[in-house]
């Protein structure tokens, strides 16, 4: 990839433990380039590798957590193919004493138990919060069990679905814990959705969220999707050749594994691959694009089966447990988010709201659509990375201005790569607290 970057990285490697110690105190406002200890400079590399283990937030020793399975629509008949889907699954971490409760929303395709949500749970639990984690409305479990239409993508509908899930979850646990106040956070798509959920809550008032923190959110979903899809345009042959791309990457990893002394494919292996310069910048982007596609493949397929939409599965076909699904995967993984929007989501929305145009819909899928609400509301905080590739500089400037005074900005970290970095988790708790002190007065 980057011999100069590699050198920089190894230098930072030496410094990072020291910097990490110095940075335990949260820096207010804008993080300075020099003082931020997250070690990986490249945007794609940070996104893929995350945070080195020794710099990550640690699991609290006393963490008490259990799984909730919520039957949101008891009447719903689920296809036999999803025989294992018994309801929406959430993690519930609980304190013994009266404490604030935070709901967390996962990013695209991810579930309630994703690593990122785990780390956020650790950070909040250490700061004394109860936590309930929610799968993304784009996750197959959500589509099958908790989505009213089973067609994810519309921020308002997805927020209403999430809100119903939160109410059901709260219903389930409210007799077991004591709660002082409610908080909300989400990362990536989940961050954008958190804004819509908070808006809905201001109407319904079940929770009266004191503070809402968005971590690396998309400003506009369609624009972010275009930027992610563009990562696949630069691989040889473009996005239609991801099969060949995948094989080539795998061959290269295999070769590297053979030569080295590795027992497992673990983080150390990935770091070594990165440091060896085995993967070019374009290829690292391609790997990210491919992983988004793998997530969206699950979303497209689950939605199509649930709605009998005839998009990738023949209309009226009832798939059996023993049926091979490989070809459906191979089709779904080659369909872009843009295809999904144009060919599946938009026609669906047209039926729901006759007369709506594509441009109108695209415009609605973002924060600008509820800008008026967000602007005059001090309860929102946002965490941004200067080199997050799912938004551009104009988006970054917009977020800084929209949430002025309630932002944490980091010089690097890519998309979510620094989320589990200790300082970031301290900052997240910090942002929630600032909001707590000011939130009530301004309502």
């Amino acid at each position: 990839m980057m011999s100069s970057e590699t050198r920089k990285l190894s230098r930072r490697w030496l410094w990072s433990p020291i910097l990490a110690m110095l940075l335990v105190l949260p820096a207010a406002g804008q993080a300075e380039e020099g003082s931020y200890g997250y070690p990986i400079p490249g945007s794609y590399a940070a996104t893929i590798l995350g945070t080195p283990e020794m710099l990550r937030i640690e699991k609290p020793d006393n963490l008490a957590m259990k799984v909730l399975v919520l039957d949101i629509y008891p009447e719903r008949e689920k296809p036999e193919l999803f025989y294992y889907d018994k309801g929406l699954v959430c993690n519930f971490a609980y304190q013994k004493n009266k404490a604030p409760l935070a709901f967390l929303i996962a990013g695209t395709g991810s579930d309630y138990d994703s690593d990122k949500l785990r780390f956020m749970t650790y950070g909040l639990y250490k700061a004394g919060y109860h936590v309930i984690t929610l799968s993304s409305p784009t996750n197959p479990n959500f589509i099958v069990s908790a989505s009213r239409d089973s067609v994810p993508g519309d921020l308002e509908t997805d927020a209403a679905d999430l809100y119903l899930v939160m109410e059901k979850a709260w219903e389930r646990v409210k007799d077991d814990i004591e709660v002082s106040d409610f908080f909300l956070s989400g990362y990536s798509l989940g961050g954008t959705q958190a804004a819509y959920v908070a808006k809905l809550d201001d109407e319904r008032k079940t929770f009266n969220f004191k503070k809402v923190v968005m971590i690396n959110p998309a400003v506009n979903l369609y624009a972010s999707v275009e930027r992610i899809e563009a990562l696949l345009d630069v691989i040889p042959g473009g996005s239609r050749k991801i099969g060949i791309f995948f094989s080539r990457m795998l061959d290269r990893f295999t070769e590297f594994y053979k030569k080295g002394d590795y027992v497992d494919i673990n983080n150390q292996f990935l770091f070594d691959v990165y440091k060896s310069g085995l993967v070019s910048q374009e290829e690292a982007g391609g790997i990210i694009g491919l992983s988004f596609r793998i997530a969206s493949a699950g979303m497209i397929f689950a939605s199509d089966v649930m709605t009998n939409g005839g998009y990738v599965v023949p209309k009226n076909r009832i798939l059996q447990v023993g049926d091979p699904l490989a070809d459906y995967f191979r089709v779904c993984v080659r369909l872009s988010f843009i295809d999904y929007f144009d060919e599946y989501f938009f026609p669906y929305m047209q039926k729901k709201r006759p007369g709506i145009t594509k441009d109108q819909l695209k415009e609605e899928l973002g924060l600008k659509h509820i800008e008026g609400y967000l602007k005059e509301n001090p309860k929102f905080g946002v965490m941004l990375n200067e080199n997050d590739f799912i938004i551009d500089d104009a988006d970054r400037a917009y977020l800084k201005q929209l949430f002025a005074g309630q932002t944490k900005i980091y010089p690097r970290g890519g998309h979510l790569g620094n989320l589990e970095f200790r300082q970031n988790m301290v900052d997240m708790v910090d942002l929630l607290q600032i909001l707590e002190s000011t939130g009530g007065e301004n309502q």
């Binding site: 239609r240 295999t254 089709v331």
Partner: protein, 254 residues
């Protein structure tokens, strides 16, 4: 789930029968005829066939996968959770260490069969160290002395000898495998039974033997983090199949 106890294999046939019963088909009545979808695989023939794995018994395999999911949910995981609840953490670690240490014997003879001197010495060193300093294998001390655990089994030995993996095979209870790894499992289990019979350390205590077998079974589930369908990903079977084949290929390389 590797290295399950010998008694498991005795039940396999029975379980196969059980699994075939729960895989019965749903009827397709009352539905209008199928219509072709907007996108199908024919569009994408100019790209490589991603994640291909030879799986001629897919119908059987997927139904066993489903059976295993229910066996896990209804019986094995509740028992495992009960064990984890009543047993203090350090004891669980001790139990795992104990059975892993016995597993070093398997690693030792398979490393020898593969002609891997370094690995054989490593396994021997680990077994001797953990059995003595580690008090009968209850403590893992060899690792801190630089001897990492590098398990080998007869399936891998067959691979090193040039035997192909054979088709993918989901074995009841045991889970995702190939014909080669299943053969290896049977051979290793047989070898172990023969060794136990020859040494016969528990001649007069069949109850203890049964108890140990049960404990080993529970411990082996305790050690495996995989949960069927936890991902809720509709293509989980397909992904696991590919990863398993890939993992076996990687293991044979080392």
């Amino acid at each position: 789930m590797k290295k399950l106890s010998s008694c498991v294999s005795r039940f396999m046939l029975l379980l196969c029968l059980g699994a075939s019963v729960c895989g019965c088909a749903t009827t397709k009545a009352h539905l209008p005829p199928e219509e072709p979808p907007m996108h199908s695989i024919e569009e994408f023939t100019d790209d490589e066939n991603m994640l291909f794995v030879d799986d001629p018994w897919i119908g059987f395999n997927k139904n066993i996968y489903k059976f295993n999911y229910y066996a896990d949910e209804k019986v094995i995981l509740p028992v495992t959770r009960g064990y984890e609840f009543i047993t203090p953490g350090f004891m669980q670690t001790g139990v795992s260490n104990f059975f892993n240490n016995i597993g070093e014997v398997k690693t030792l003879y398979n490393s020898l069969l593969q002609g891997k001197g370094g690995k054989s010495l490593n396994a021997l060193g680990r077994f001797l160290t953990n059995s003595t300093v580690g008090i009968g294998g209850l403590f893992e001390v060899a690792k801190s002395m630089g001897m990492e655990r590098k398990p080998e089994d007869f399936g891998q030995t067959l691979g090193v000898w040039g035997v192909g993996s054979g088709p993918y095979l989901v074995v009841p209870i045991l889970g995702p495998n190939t014909v080669r790894s299943t053969t290896g499992f049977v051979a290793d289990t047989g070898t172990r039974m023969a060794m136990v019979n020859a040494i016969d350390p528990l001649e007069n205590a069949p109850e203890v033997e049964t108890g140990l077998t049960a404990l080993e079974f529970v411990d082996s589930r305790h050690q495996v983090k995989f949960r069927y369908h936890k991902s809720h990903y509709p293509f989980e079977y397909f992904m696991i199949r590919y990863l398993l084949m890939q993992q076996q290929e990687f293991q044979v390389m080392k």
